[in-house]
């Protein structure tokens, strides 16, 4: 009986210690709620926004190169291994084209980074009293608003249907 009792205690102890082992956190990530708490954190998030623009699908890649290819600003040479061949030939551009999807994804990633910061900046602002810091927050927000706007404008340019009148445009953008 005593042996059994000991076993139960052992089991319970093990269960308890193991249960706490069930909460695993990666070393290279922090939870959303803990990520933006200070003015410095907001600034880091802004750097993250700029980093999002470095995507190879955006200004240093697909976003600028694909329209160039379509506009025939390149020469197709023998020996090309069909890189961007579908874009260059126009007719092979399919709904599942990943190069184009990457542009769409890249722009929304920028927007997501902006929204993530903008959604959390008010909490930081409420806890901030220093004028310099408040100015800094305004500056950060301004940069985020601009980044978001430019991403949206690219989306409109790339993915909205052509329109001719203002009313028409309003319908396309819905």
């Amino acid at each position: 009986m005593i042996k059994k009792f000991k076993l139960y205690i052992l089991l319970a102890a093990m269960a308890f210690s193991a249960a706490s082992c069930l909460d695993k956190m990666p070393e290279d990530g922090i939870p959303f709620d803990e990520s933006i708490q200070t003015v410095d954190d907001v600034n880091l998030a802004v750097i993250g926004i700029y980093d999002a623009f470095k995507s190879s699908a955006l200004y240093s890649g697909n976003l600028t190169i694909l329209p160039d290819l379509q506009a025939d600003l390149v020469y197709g040479v023998n020996g090309n291994t069909n890189t961007f061949g579908d874009i260059w030939r126009w007719k092979d551009i399919l709904a599942t084209n990943t190069s184009i999807e990457a542009v769409y994804a890249g722009l929304y990633n920028v927007i997501n980074c902006c929204n993530f910061m903008l959604d959390r900046v008010d909490r930081v602002r409420n806890n901030t009293t220093d004028d310099k810091d408040l100015d800094k927050l305004d500056q950060c927000c301004g940069e985020a608003y601009f980044a978001r706007a430019i991403a949206y404008s690219e989306l409109v340019k790339m993915f909205c249907k052509a329109y001719e009148s203002d009313e028409d445009a309003a319908n396309q953008l819905v």
Binding site: A18, F32, A45, I47, Y50, G79, T96
Partner: protein
């Protein structure tokens, strides 16, 4: 081996009865031989019926038994694996010689199941077993390939000819869309990863059990939805003295099939260039002097293989050990591909007292590996490049040195793949330690409490270099190192209680708890700027180019229960339940509950069948239950912000994943009905039907980028069904003293159907994979344009529209579900073995049918204009449309290929997986050596013959696309096994 087990038991039993009584009696003596070969039998037990008086035969098969106090007695002769005999004796008998007849069916074979072993034929679950003989001598690094075609329902595909890569496993169909589909592998009670198969020497494996239905797998709960493969390593079995076994094997590897090479040779290439107008500036007089077959340049047709293994084992009543060491060395058939392993194992079990048993299973391995690049259509890697390189580009100079870009002796476009590989070596090292220790206490009779602790540790390193002198590096080399450590700790506690009620009812209860804690950490650093070939390492670089690191962990906590009941060996019932918690889900959704019920009716033991001679055994099995799957990335339930953003050398943060705290288990409900019977003591038939339904499937559900900036999220959605039948038959066609002919075959059929997707969506195109999920179809069905051939009048390509009309336009909207999937519904194998005296011949075939694969290599080779600067298929030269009236399937030159169903090929195959011719030296000869107890030599061929309609180099493809794949190799080996 079985003989020795019995010997052990006998020794224990007979110690006491050997005492003599001082009473007058009479002696019976005689000689016991085996009816099979007339050889004397050692250790046959002779017992006077109704007493404890008995002896065992000596080394020459002789015995003398003194019988006292009775005028006539009955002697029982018994030996494991032999039919027992009873003979009446009296004082007049004097000499009684006996011939014992073998009876294979009488052996109580043991089957390894979850958390224990059971006598064969007493389990309600669907379990198939593969024994050591099938694996011991396979000429491969791991045991995985030898399972192909052995077990119905188990699909094993060796997706790569790389010696260090493991085969891909799947049991009873695909049960999940995005979560894992591989079975759970358990080695001596600890879960292992398929990446570690090559660290386990196949010769150390005693048996592999494949647990297929709910009744046998549910006790593994959360990880068992794809079935469980339980691997047991060897233990000591030799009784009288330690047995030393040496196994050695030497051989070569080459391409399993090289007749599928279809690219042009030099004359064909030159003619092709002339026809399509690519001849500007070409000096054909010069070029036509070179004619290289790149297949022969890149693949070795006699890559050496050697393997040595030494083991010692012994079993006494207190101690039982198996110790082995091995060395395995195999060159791959492709460039820069090799595998070398040093391994050792020590398994020991000590009976410390009559209530305590402790033991360990410990293995260590060190490996040196290099792997060829495969799978990506690159021009500079040898396997892929061999298809693209032109036949008049020679990778070697006349003097045998490498044609180099450095000195201009390489005349081709881009890089010489062989030179590229030589200048960019990568070497891997892996260190593996897998150890379990256990203690078993028996505090009261029938109760066993067992605690096991396991540690599975691996350390892997990689070292890559790119030499500065290689011209494309521009005198600035590169070096990189990576290191990763994985430690998985597991702990299992079980209490087992057996209990019998007046001989008719017996119970067996198991209560257990298990915990697994896995952690891995690794990093990689690359630097650049080295300018000395002999000093190309990290330190000699001038700047670091990348420095990623990663740490991850997961854990499980589980409690389980199993109850077994058996009434008079007639009715068997089993109930099991398990609850699991996984760290991969949020705190509110991490516990999952799984259960199973199983029934077995041993009809043969019913009174009405007992006397039917021809029916050796008959059983009916039923089971139902659930199991789970949580094979998703470790942290995906969490909403996380990452810090690896960098702008202008300032680090920033960004939201990296939005998480889903609602995420939980995927669950598979499985039902099984099985019948097995034996006929005439010769033939065994086993038939199983199953129906499985997976719900709450873990899927990367597509969502709008506008929500979180990513295109999908993990969610529990939908339902899927797998239904199938498995049949296995084996039997001895001929069984005489000297000659045995055995045949075995198995076949399985599985039907997969998607029942429900997410948010009421009925179909989802899987981006660029050529697949589409449609409710009511197989989850791995191709969705493609149908190619209709070539218009004979003008050479245009034609396709069918979705409605079946002909069109010259390749349009997205004409894609249809093809009814073809890359999961093979039909899988099977068959084998035969012939034994005549010491000589044996065995053959094992495996096959798969109705399996389709997108042959991406052919898309490049028959591009018809897209890749003309590189080598192309001969078919483009000979079979393409050239003039009105040509009936062919390749359009006129310039009408480029599209990824449509013309490249979707049937990759069904039949393969002679293994053929072994062996000779075991007779005992009479070995006795003269006074040293060896057994000796065997054999010749073996692996992947000897392949029949397939697939046009790629090898039909064993585990994924939907066949592209620059390292093809399977064929091995010829000569081996010896000796023991003393």
């Amino acid at each position: 081996m079985r003989k020795s087990i019995l010997l052990f038991v006998l020794f224990a039993l007979l110690n006491i009865p050997l005492m003599l009584f001082a009473q007058s009696g009479y002696k019976v003596k005689g000689h016991v031989v085996s009816a099979e070969d007339n050889e004397p039998m050692v250790g046959v037990s002779i017992l006077e019926k109704g007493t404890t008086n008995g002896v065992i035969t000596d080394i020459d098969g002789n015995y003398t038994l003194e019988i006292k106090g009775t005028a006539s007695a009955t002697l029982l002769f018994s030996y494991i694996g032999m039919q027992s005999q009873a003979h009446a004796v009296s004082a007049k008998t004097g000499t009684l010689n006996v011939r014992l007849v073998s009876d294979a069916a009488l052996i109580d074979e043991v089957v390894v199941v979850a958390y224990g072993t059971r006598k064969k034929g007493t389990i309600a679950g669907a379990v198939s077993t593969v024994k050591a003989e099938k694996m011991e001598n396979v000429p491969t690094a791991g045991f995985d390939q030898s399972l192909q075609g052995q077990t119905p329902g188990l699909t094993v595909i060796s997706n790569s000819g790389e010696p260090s890569k493991a085969a891909v496993f799947q049991l009873r169909g695909t049960n999940s869309i995005n979560s894992g589909t591989s079975p759970l592998f358990i080695l001596d009670g600890t879960p292992i990863s398929s990446a570690d198969f090559n660290t386990i020497s196949p010769g150390d494996i005693e048996s592999i059990s494949v647990l297929k239905d709910a009744s046998s797998t549910s006790i593994y709960g959360a990880r068992a939805a794809n079935g469980v493969v339980v691997i047991t390593s060897k233990r000591g079995l030799a009784i009288d003295k330690a047995k030393v076994t040496l196994r050695a094997q030497w051989g070569i590897s080459q391409l399993a099939s090289n007749d599928k090479w279809v690219v042009m040779n030099t004359p064909e290439r030159i003619q092709f260039e002339k026809e399509i107008g690519l001849y500007t500036g070409q000096d054909y007089d010069l070029l036509s002097r070179t004619n290289v077959n790149w297949l022969d340049e890149v693949f070795n047709d006699r890559a050496p293989l050697q393997s040595y293994e030494l083991s010692v084992n012994r079993a006494t009543d207190r101690l039982n050990y198996y110790v082995s060491g091995g060395f395995y060395d195999q060159e791959g058939i492709a460039q820069s591909s090799s595998f070398r392993r040093y391994n050792m194992r020590a398994n020991a079990e000590v009976k410390a007292s009559n209530w305590l048993k402790v033991g360990t299973n410990t293995m260590m391995a060190y490996e040196e590996i290099s792997q060829a690049e495969e799978g990506e259509p690159a021009l500079y890697t040898p396997i892929s490049g061999s298809r693209f390189m032109l036949p008049y580009w020679n990778p070697y100079n006349a003097d045998g040195s490498l044609a180099s870009e450095n000195d201009g002796t390489w005349t081709g476009t881009g890089q010489n793949p062989i030179e590229w590989m030589t200048n960019n070596p990568v070497s891997y090292k892996k260190y593996k330690l897998l150890s379990t220790v256990f203690a078993e206490i028996t505090p009261i009779q029938n109760l066993t409490i067992r605690g096991q602790f396991g540690a599975d540790y691996s350390h892997s390193t990689a070292f890559m270099q790119s030499f500065p002198s290689y011209i494309i590096n521009n005198n600035s080399g590169k070096a990189g190192r990576s290191s990763s450590d994985i430690l998985s700790l597991s702990e299992t506690l079980t209490a087992n209680y057996r209990w019998a009620l007046n001989d008719d009812h017996s119970f067996n209860f198991l209560l257990g708890q298990e915990g697994i804690d896995y952690q891995s950490s690794g990093f990689q650093v690359s630097t650049q700027g080295q300018n000395n070939d002999r000093l190309t390492n990290l330190l000699t670089g001038t700047r670091a180019t990348s420095w990623p690191d990663s740490n991850s962990a997961y854990s499980y906590l589980s409690f389980f229960f199993r109850g077994e009941y058996n009434y008079k060996d007639l009715y068997y019932a089993e109930v099991a339940a398990r609850t699991d918690a996984s760290s991969r889900f949020g705190a509110d959704h991490r516990w999952g509950m799984f259960w199973s019920l199983g029934f077995m009716w041993n009809i043969k033991n019913e009174a009405f069948l007992k006397d039917i001679e021809w029916l050796t055994s008959a059983q009916v099995k039923l089971s139902t239950g659930t199991s789970g799957n949580s094979e998703i990335p470790y942290y995906d339930h969490l909403a996380l912000v990452s810090g690896d953003a960098n702008y202008n050398d300032e680090a920033g943060i960004y939201p990296s994943q939005s998480g889903n705290e609602e995420l939980s288990w995927e669950q598979t409900w499985a039902n099984n009905v099985g019948v097995s019977f034996g006929l005439y003591n010769r033939v065994n038939v086993n038939v199983d039907f199953y129906h499985k339904k997976t719900t709450n499937m873990l899927m990367l559900v597509p969502q709008s980028y506008a929500i979180t900036g990513v295109g999908n999220r993990w969610d529990n959605i939908g339902a899927m069904m797998n239904r199938g039948v498995e049949i296995a038959i084996d039997g001895d066609v001929i069984r005489t003293k000297d000659f045995t002919w055995n045949l075995s075959a198995n076949v399985s059929y599985n039907k997969n159907k998607l029942l429900e997707l997410y948010n009421g969506v009925e179909e989802y195109v899987n981006s660029t994979t050529g697949l589409k999920y449609v409710v009511g179809h197989s989850v791995r069905e191709y969705f493609m344009n149908r190619y209709a051939g070539v218009n004979p009048a003008n050479g245009d390509a034609l396709w069918y529209t979705a409605d079946g009309e002909l069109t010259t336009e390749f349009r997205e909207e004409d894609k249809v579900m093809t009814g073809k999937s890359f999961d093979s519904p039909w899988v099977g194998g068959f084998g035969t073995s012939l034994m005549w005296k010491g000589l044996s011949l065995s053959a094992q075939f495996s096959w798969m049918a109705k399996r389709y694969v997108m042959n991406n290599d052919r898309f490049f080779e028959e591009s018809n204009g897209l890749y003309s600067a590189y080598n192309q298929s001969k078919r483009l030269l000979y079979d393409r449309w050239k003039k009105p009236g040509d009936i062919t399937d390749i359009p006129r030159y310039g009408v480029t290929a599209q990824l449509d169903d013309r490249f979707l090929e049937n990759s069904s195959f039949l393969r002679l997986k293994n053929l072994t011719l062996a000779y075991a030296f007779p005992q009479s000869l070995l006795k003269k050596t006074n040293f060896f107890t057994s000796a065997r030599v054999y010749l073996q061929g692996q992947n000897l013959l392949t029949w397939t309609g697939f046009t790629g180099l090898d039909p064993e493809v585990a994924t939907n696309v066949y592209r620059a794949q390292y093809p399977a190799s064929r091995q010829f080996t000569l081996g010896i096994d000796v023991s003393f």
